[in-house]
């Protein structure tokens, strides 16, 4: 690991100006991702600014009846939060399906969103990777790509975003609040993460020195009828092959409204807007769920090793929506 400086300042604006002057500096929150990547030599910031005590570590109600989650709230605390469990169960379920208890105790809400995408070649400095070393080539496209993207990938990168929490928050219309050199902004979570395009080195739209301070959830009532289903190769402590977060509002057997997001399929949490559109106003039925899933997955482009994700994603969408339609009745 390259030697680096460690800083901790007292306020948000001081921190932002500190890091603005350090082009190779990075924020440190729980450290569960960046410290690993530093040990591997994948990231080598020359300065870490500890922001863990800088942003709120509590969950509070907002004026419009939604909730605001401080960026420093740990994954384990957030999963256990009563409001989240009752009003946004998909988020609690997603958090509890992620990583291990030890990691969830360290990882924060802001840090979880900013995990780097996951790929064995990105993590191995001895192989080409456009994300790590722009222009060096993508090793995964013709290599080991069983865990890689089927949607929204590019010829430069086929990595997937690893977060479970972010998938649930994407389904539930979250906003990400940031402070940066240019002040505060409120970003729909769907816009936070990027598709790789020709700049796979950029995982998000955040500018250097822009700090996530909170995540806000809207007061949408039917989000209490939401769930997260994660498919993985073992019962715990594994990244999703495919995951689905969904919420559904059903009345008299008709879908009034629905939210669907997919994990493990793209460079970002994938909001399944086409499937949502196809379902609004339609009767609840397995056939309709299946048809909607197939519409969403029409654009899927499998690689040599991940074609299984298409039927898997379809099946999990159908199953999750079927479960929600039964439970939400």
């Amino acid at each position: 690991m390259k030697p680096y400086r460690y800083e901790r300042s007292e306020d948000v604006s001081g921190t932002i100006s500190t890091i603005a002057e350090e082009p190779e500096g990075a924020f440190l929150a729980g450290g569960t991702n960046i410290v690993d990547l530093m040990k591997l030599g994948v990231m080598s910031p020359d300065m870490l600014v500890d922001v863990r005590r800088l942003t709120p570590d509590d969950v509070e109600e907002t004026e419009d009846g939604g909730v605001r989650i401080g960026a420093a709230v740990t994954n384990s605390d957030l999963a256990a939060e009563r409001t989240i469990r009752s009003r946004y169960p998909a988020i609690s379920e997603a958090l509890l399906s992620g990583a291990s208890a030890q990691l969830r105790n360290m990882a924060t809400t802001g840090g979880n969103l900013l995990q780097r995408t996951r790929c064995v070649y990105f993590q191995d400095t001895t192989t080409p990777c456009n994300k790590r070393e722009p222009g060096s080539g993508c090793s995964a496209i013709e290599g080991h790509n069983k865990n890689h993207a089927i949607l929204g990938a590019s010829e430069h990168c086929v990595a997937t975003h690893p977060s479970d929490m972010a998938v649930a928050m994407t389904a539930l219309d979250a906003f990400v609040v940031t402070h940066g050199p240019d002040g505060e902004r409120r970003i729909p979570i769907e816009e936070l993460h990027r598709l790789p395009g020709s700049e796979p080195e950029r995982d998000t739209i955040l500018e250097h020195g822009e700090l996530i301070t909170a995540v806000e959830l809207p007061p949408t009532a039917f989000f209490s009828n939401s769930k997260y289903r994660k498919v993985r190769e073992r019962a715990s402590y594994a990244f999703a092959l495919v995951s689905v977060a969904a919420a559904m509002d059903v009345e008299d057997g008709v879908i009034r409204d629905v939210r669907i997001a997919l994990g493990g399929v793209a460079h970002k949490p994938w909001r399944a807007t086409k499937a949502e559109e196809a379902l609004r106003g339609e009767p609840v039925s397995e056939a309709n769920f299946r048809a909607a899933a197939e519409i969403e997955l029409e654009d899927a482009e499998p690689l040599s090793g991940n074609a299984y994700k298409i039927p898997l994603a379809r099946n999990v969408i159908v199953r999750t929506l079927s479960d929600l339609s039964e439970e939400g009745r």
Binding site: S139, E142, G143, Y308, P311, N315
Partner: protein
């Protein structure tokens, strides 16, 4: 605390491991933890190409880093006295045989400095295209002279091909098992110290004398000049049996900094490069039976992998030679020599992949014959060993199958696949047999000392790799001495003790235990003859070598077992869960009911792991394993392991050794993967012949 055992009753009792308290308190000293004066830390340089040679190493930036003591490369490395073993003869030239091979090291005051400085060393290569593509249709497969443990490469009894062609029922299928890497909790670790012409190694090893005898000739030393110390080992699973190049690198490094201890532990990543692994196998199995289900032909043609720099030929098909009664049995082994690291032992080399294929094929043929898989196995039970013609010293397979069926609730099972479900879960059950040879290894000696206070000391350079050796050898000695277990103190894990074989091939207790028994008998004779039956004031000791087993050559000696597994498969996702396993073993006299249960269960879990999780993915373009950490290379979590019902039958075998025991370290892993695969088939109707059985292979 250990309960006091009445004299003569220690063997078999569920005595807790004597070093358990030390381990729980963190006070058991593992290799890396020995406190020595002013240690330095070694971090290796590893090749990033798979084939070629180093043309230039520029270490100037590393050497300039404060805290760096020395950079070791092939340009300044000590010349080894023997370079026959190309895996171990590192840094003797710039040649590279596989990706990840050691090409140097940085030694520094701290681990962090050594690791960082290693990243500053600039290396240039002359690179050749690597050949790492393991396939059965390569035209350069070759026939090794012999297999691991000295087995014959090819065998043929009768006419398996002819019998297959004319059979009423037959099954021909290809099964594959992947490359798997040993990952004990404690990675390989060494502290090496040179003092004049003596080398001391604090080492995590399955055999201190194996390490001594391998290292001494490399450095041109008499064996007595290499002192190996290894009291506690955090698992090995074969990878700490044959010494690997990490020990040589540590010793070379230490040579450059005389008298200073050099510490070197492999990282988890490095465990996937230099510490051995199980070869992938491609097994073409053919079974044939007559109209009643009596086997008429058994054959297994195996293709597996070795390294171009050193041959390792896994004995994958040997169990097909002796498992079931058939007049026609044929086995072959062919190797692909590739630009890859050297395969080696991984728990039950040979039996684990071989029995997976054979026992899946037996399941398939039972179904083809319309027979219950348990009954099909029982009706093909041989009278004598089909390979040697010798009688078995004991063979408890049928009893294990019957007992296991009873415990598991097999009887009444609906034979049709996909006939049971629980919500979205498809539920099935599967069975498979297990076998492991009774090995003993030569060269053992033990010393037993009687003190006048009635306490005894037993010395033998044996190894405890988490298996219970500290405890079990004490139990054996205590009973043979006729004294309470607490009155015996063991000393193991050091080359200053009497010579011992290593922990491998499940041979430890047979080899060391027989020797301890012999030493106790010698001591008793000595006390009787020289001291009138009384222990003198100054104490008395006797040393004995391992006696030859008078029955070897008269019997075929094996342990057996049967596994029963319930598997559940989510029909939407292909996720497989195994809520329960029942395994019954016939492994002679069980020395310690508690440590034995742990070993059996550990093997069963490892078989479950092989069935559902483990696979080292090699990228042929680069020649290395790309999923080289435990986030990507999966093993079961606690949540993946359900109810484990472990038991054994009473088996009295007077021929195997004086204790009547059979090795139990490996048999648990043998067959358990097949039982899982057979249960997945029964649940889903989908036959997966390529391990591991991951959701992508079941989803539709």
């Amino acid at each position: 605390m250990t309960a006091t055992q009445a004299p003569g009753k220690a063997v078999g009792a569920p005595i807790s491991r004597v070093e358990g308290g030390l381990k729980v308190r963190g006070a058991a000293t593992y290799a890396y933890e020995h406190r020595l004066h002013e240690p330095v830390y070694l971090y290796p340089l590893q090749s990033t190409i798979a084939n070629g040679r180093v043309t230039k190493i520029d270490a100037s930036r590393a050497e300039a880093e404060p805290g760096v003591v020395v950079v070791l490369t092939h340009e300044n490395a000590p010349k080894l006295a023997s370079t026959d073993d190309k895996e171990l003869a590192i840094l003797q030239s710039g040649d590279i045989g596989f990706r990840g091979q050691f090409i140097g090291a940085v030694i520094a005051d701290t681990f962090e400095t050594a690791r960082y400085a290693a990243s500053l060393v600039e290396i240039e290569y002359d690179e050749n295209e690597p050949d790492a593509d393991f396939r059965a249709d390569r035209d350069d497969l070759y026939t090794p002279e012999q297999l691991n443990a000295g087995f014959e490469t090819d065998t043929s009894v009768g006419d398996a091909d002819g019998a297959f062609d004319s059979a009423a029922h037959k099954l021909a299928a290809t099964y594959t098992t992947p490359r798997e890497h040993n990952n004990p909790m404690e990675p390989h670790a060494t502290i090496a110290v040179w003092d004049e012409d003596e080398l001391t190694l604090y080492e995590s090893t399955q055999g201190v004398f194996w390490t001594q005898k391998t290292l001494a000739p490399l450095f041109g030393l008499d064996a007595g000049k290499v002192h190996v110390i290894s009291p506690h080992v955090g698992g090995g699973f074969g990878s700490k049996g044959l010494p690997h190049a990490n020990v040589v690198l540590a010793a070379m490094g230490a040579m450059l900094v005389p008298e200073r201890p050099v510490k070197f532990a492999l990282t988890r990543h490095m465990m996937f490069t230099v510490a051995g692994y199980r070869t992938p196998t491609i097994q073409r199995v053919r079974l044939a039976a007559d109209e009643n289900g009596k086997l008429s032909a058994v054959s297994n043609d195996v293709v597996e992998q070795t390294s171009k720099i050193k041959e390792f030929a896994e004995q994958t098909a040997t169990s097909a030679r002796m498992m079931y009664d058939s007049p026609n049995i044929k086995t072959t082994h062919r190797l692909a020599a590739l630009d890859v690291s050297v395969p080696s032992w991984l728990r039950a080399p040979g039996e684990a992949p071989g029995i997976f294929a054979l026992e899946c094929a037996m399941d398939e043929l039972a179904i083809e014959c319309g027979l219950d898989p348990v009954e099909f196995r029982i009706m093909n039970e041989p009278e004598n060993d089909p390979e040697s013609g010798l009688p078995f010293s004991s063979r408890g397979l049928v009893e294990c199958l019957r007992e296991g069926a009873e415990r598991f609730g097999w009887n009444g099972r609906h034979p049709t696949p996909r006939s049971e479900r629980d919500g979205r879960w498809l539920v099935g059950s599967g069975v498979a047999s297990s076998v492991y040879p009774v090995y003993s290894m030569g060269g053992n000696a033990a010393t037993v000392r009687a003190n006048s206070d009635g306490k005894y000391e037993v010395e033998i350079g044996a190894a405890d790799i988490g298996t219970g050796t500290w405890t079990v050898l004490g139990q054996i000695a205590a009973d043979e001495l006729g004294v309470p277990f607490e009155d015996v103190e063991m000393k193991i894990g050091d080359t200053t003790l009497p010579n011992a074989s290593g922990a491998g091939g499940s041979s430890g207790i047979t080899s060391w235990g027989s020797t301890v028994v012999e030493a106790v008998r010698s001591l008793r004779e000595k006390i009787e003859a020289d001291h009138g039956g009384n222990i003198p004031e100054e104490g008395v000791e006797a040393t004995a070598k391992m006696p030859k087993n008078p029955h070897s050559g008269d019997f075929a000696m094996y342990a057996f077992g049967a596994h029963f597994v319930e598997a559940r498969v989510d029909e939407d996702t292909g996720e497989v869960r195994v809520p329960r396993m029942t395994s019954v073993f016939a492994a002679g006299n069980i020395m310690n009911a508690k440590t034995a249960r742990s070993q059996f269960m550990g093997g069963m879990v490892m078989g479950l792991s092989a069935a559902l999780h483990e696979e080292s993915v090699l990228d042929t373009r680069f020649g290395h394993v790309v999923n080289h950490d435990l986030a990507e290379y999966h093993i079961p979590t606690n949540a993946d392991v359900g109810e484990m019902d472990v038991s054994w039958i009473e088996e009295d075998d007077p021929y195997v050794n004086p204790m009547g025991s059979k090795g139990i370290g490996e048999i648990g892993i043998v067959g358990s993967a097949a039982a899982v695969a057979n249960a997945v088939y029964h649940a889903t109707g989908v036959r997966v012949r390529e391990l591991p059985i991951t959701p992508d292979k079941l989803i539709s």
